[in-house]
């Protein structure tokens, strides 16, 4: 792994990036935290959540539940379904998922234009440094993959002055959990109609440990930012006014969808808090 700490020595001071590391935090709580950091602070953040509980289905902002999720098993097994604030597709996350989120000011990365593809490309270059020695890493369309097997899915949210790029990484996954999800209507070309098992891979088969992974991210970030670990407690302020848009769908919401099949009423309107 090349150590280019001299990047900072080129004269331009590296901007500050606060690092929050957590483990096992419920994804709903993590997403609420992210929204708060995005909308209510002016700092650059990296949030890493190693594993989450309970296993939860997370949809993008405009996902239609009936098209993406097998509602009956979900209701039967009481799997929580969350609609997050960023775009992108549907995932089911659990203890085997590692989340990495970047929340940045527009000016944080010199020369980076705040557009989806530019940010996606920047992230691909960052992660290339992390994964390159463990496998044939690619940014394929909008996914992170080893060769042609996806192990990381991305989503973004771009506001007036800031942007979020967050990833759910499949350190490991439970094949049975995939049964709660339908095959998406829109899929990346390289998926080629493969089912989950043939399309995905597990990071643990490529890398020795989760900490090697997270340490690698922090090192790569250090080339562009001055990374400052921040205590979670100091981050959780009493900002009661703020209402995040990420929502947990209630049992009632889901039951309504089942009973009114074909209705798209529970689409985007939910976003309007």
């Amino acid at each position: 792994m090349s150590v280019t700490r001299s990047a900072g020595a080129l004269g331009a001071a590296r901007p500050l990036m606060r690092l929050v590391t957590m483990s096992g935090v419920p994804i709903l709580r993590q997403l609420h935290l992210e929204e708060r950091l995005l909308r209510r602070t002016a700092d650059n953040w990296c949030v890493i959540n190693d594993g989450t509980a309970p296993p939860t289905i997370v949809m993008g902002v405009s996902g239609r539940v009936s098209e993406l999720v097998e509602i009956e098993p979900v209701l039967r097994d009481r799997v929580p379904v969350v609609r997050r604030y960023s775009g992108g597709g549907t995932v089911i996350v659990d203890q085997g998922t590692v989340f990495v989120t970047f929340i940045c000011n527009k000016s944080a990365v010199a020369g980076l234009q705040p557009f989806p593809r530019d940010i996606m490309s920047w992230s691909g270059q960052l992660y290339d440094k992390v994964f390159d020695r463990f496998g044939e890493f690619h940014l394929r369309e909008n996914d992170y993959a080893f060769s042609h097997h996806k192990f990381g899915g991305n989503a973004q949210s771009i506001t007036k002055n800031r942007w979020v790029h967050h990833t759910s990484f499949l350190w490991d996954y439970d094949v049975k959990n995939m049964d709660y999800l339908k095959m998406p209507k829109r899929a990346p070309e390289y998926r080629l109609a493969r089912n989950h098992t043939d399309f995905l891979c597990r990071m643990k088969e490529y890398m020795p440990s989760r900490s090697v992974f997270t340490d690698g991210i922090i090192t790569a970030l250090g080339e562009q930012f001055s990374v400052q670990p921040t205590d979670l407690e100091t981050v959780l302020s009493n900002d009661e006014e703020f209402v995040p848009s990420t929502k947990l769908l209630s049992q009632q919401d889901l039951e309504e969808i089942v009973s009114s099949k074909g209705s798209s009423s529970l689409g985007v309107q939910e976003v309007e808090a």
Binding site: W122, Q125, E136, K160
Partner: protein
């Protein structure tokens, strides 16, 4: 891309671009003129529908009426609306300014994105908005994006609702804005700050991150298509921004494309590229192809460069495999398990381990800094494998403690993992000596390079049927395999390799010796 050309040229052609306020002037009639500056001559084919239609509203201050007759006609058409609009305009716009009803399109969010889903509005019809104030949120693929206002003005009419799909270029809403506002095509969402251009930037070698030159993604893409460095192009737009015309003019000056003829098709970006003679149709094009080395191939660049620094010597020996062939057949005959396929390699591996027990120096590791040799306790024998992704060398751990059957199974497992690119770090790390069965593909001899930090590597050529003499000096057909041992001459000398090789060869040629020494 076309949108930008039109907007870009509009801002340059507009007489008010410098921000001078004043009485109505002979402004271009609706629809706007063709985008090519300096174009004179007969009417072109009908221009594409303009993105931004300017309906001149009557001014609050009553001075000289507009002079162009066509404008006058337009006003007459507005009829009764005029009075209502006048009062609306006066409310929305500072006194002394003419007001304009502006159509705000969905701007380009990046390369190749043709449409977005509207998620929600932050404003309603009738609201006053500031420049850079968020108007709405859209989703394009993986990203939710806030669209901010280019103007200060008043929301007049909203064209789409949540859940609707909006194509890039379609009008999102209409706003009433003050005339003095400079319409720059560059204030696209998210609001591009001046700071983007002023920052001193650490130059990046990656092509996707642009160091400080102001331009839209579409213009940058165009520059990339021509293979131009956008930093070299002088921008004529606001704040020195590089516009599409700047790229095209620069390309012309570089001889990459022909001078623009006066045709509106150009605004859609279809410019002929003057490169080397175009190939005849039907003839295949043999072009250079660039491949970035990744993964295993990249690792090989590193490891082989290091290996080249070590003084190697190579020792060649011939091993008679007649007994080995018989043994393999015997194994196959007693084999009841269909999943197991017996080959020569597991026996060669086990016998190698036996020889290593006698010559541990060949199973060691050299520490340059301290001039120490670490004699490794385990025989972790690496097997070079050619996968679709490149060369990889997983190793079988603790061969000294494994049976030939166990070695056979482990070898099969590693092959399976390698072919699916699923080898774990544990599989790849910790090897103490390497075997390269290049003969499986072809070849008689090799001069293999060490797999550092090991001190020995063995290349196995293919088994050949060759005439040899037996003990009675009769010629008979014999299965012969050539073996090349590569070794680190800082640690190991020829004599040691020769003796080690004799030991190994002895066991392979007389497999019963394996039984004799087996623990």
């Amino acid at each position: 891309m076309a949108a930008w050309a039109r907007l870009a040229s509009r801002s340059r052609l507009r007489p008010s671009a410098s921000g001078v306020r004043g009485p109505p002037r002979s402004s271009p009639p609706v629809p706007p003129p063709p985008p090519r500056a300096g174009r004179a001559g007969p009417a072109a084919p009908p221009p594409p529908p303009p993105l931004r239609r300017l309906l001149r509203l009557p001014q609050v201050r009553s001075s000289s009426a507009p002079t162009t007759s066509s404008l006058g006609d337009r006003w007459r058409c507005l009829g009764g609306e005029r009075r209502w609009l006048a009062s609306e305009a006066s409310a929305a716009v500072p006194a002394g300014e003419a007001a304009e009803l502006v159509e705000v399109p969905l701007a380009q969010t990046g390369e190749g994105i043709a449409e977005c889903e509207l998620l929600r509005w932050f404003v309603a019809e009738g609201d006053q908005v500031d420049e850079f104030q968020p108007l709405c949120e859209v989703q394009s693929d993986k990203a939710t994006i806030e669209i901010t206002s280019r103007f200060k003005g008043k929301v007049h009419q909203i064209h789409f609702g949540p859940g609707d799909i909006v194509k890039v270029g379609e009008t999102l809403l209409k706003m009433i804005v003050g005339d003095s506002q400079i319409v720059s095509p560059d204030n696209i969402f998210p609001s591009a700050d001046k700071s983007l251009g002023e920052e001193s930037v650490v130059p990046s070698s990656e092509s996707n991150i642009h160091s400080g030159t102001l331009s839209t993604p579409a213009v940058r893409h165009l520059a990339k298509q021509y293979g131009l460095n956008i930093d070299e192009i002088v921008g004529t737009g606001k704040d020195g921004r590089v516009l599409k015309e700047d790229v095209l003019n620069y390309a012309v000056s570089k001889g990459l494309c022909r001078e623009q003829s006066s045709s509106l098709e150009e605004s859609t970006g279809q410019v002929e590229l003057l490169k080397e003679a175009k190939p005849l149709p039907g003839v295949p094009l043999y072009e250079d192809k660039k491949i970035v080395l990744r993964g295993y191939q990249r690792a090989m660049v590193k490891s082989m460069s290091l290996a080249a620094k070590v003084p190697h010597f190579h020792y060649l020996e011939e091993i008679n495999c007649d007994s080995l062939v018989q043994l393999k057949t015997a194994f196959q005959n007693v084999n009841k398990d269909n999943t197991i396929k017996h080959t020569f390699l597991p026996f060669l591996i086990k016998s190698l381990s036996m020889a290593l027990s006698k010559y541990p120096m060949l199973n060691s590791s050299f520490l340059e800094q301290t001039n120490e040799v670490v004699l490794k306790g385990s025989h972790n024998i690496g097997i070079a494998m050619a996968t679709t992704n490149g060369l990889v060398v997983p190793n079988i751990k603790n061969v000294q403690s494994l049976s030939i059957l166990e070695i056979t199974k482990e070898l099969a497992r590693l092959h399976e993992m390698a072919s699916h690119n699923k080898l774990s770090t544990a599989d790849i790390e910790g090897g103490t000596i390497t075997l390269s069965n290049i003969g499986a593909i072809g070849g008689k001899f090799g001069s293999p390079l060490l797999n550092l930090p090991e001190v020995a590597i063995i290349a196995l050529g293919r088994i050949q049927k060759l005439p040899r003499f037996d003990d009675d000096e009769n010629v008979y057909p014999s299965s012969i395999i050539n073996v090349t041992v590569g070794a680190d001459h800082r640690v190991v000398d020829g004599a040691m390799v020769a003796r080690f090789c004799n030991e190994w060869k002895g066991v392979v040629e007389k497999p019963e010796l394996l039984l004799l020494h087996m623990r």
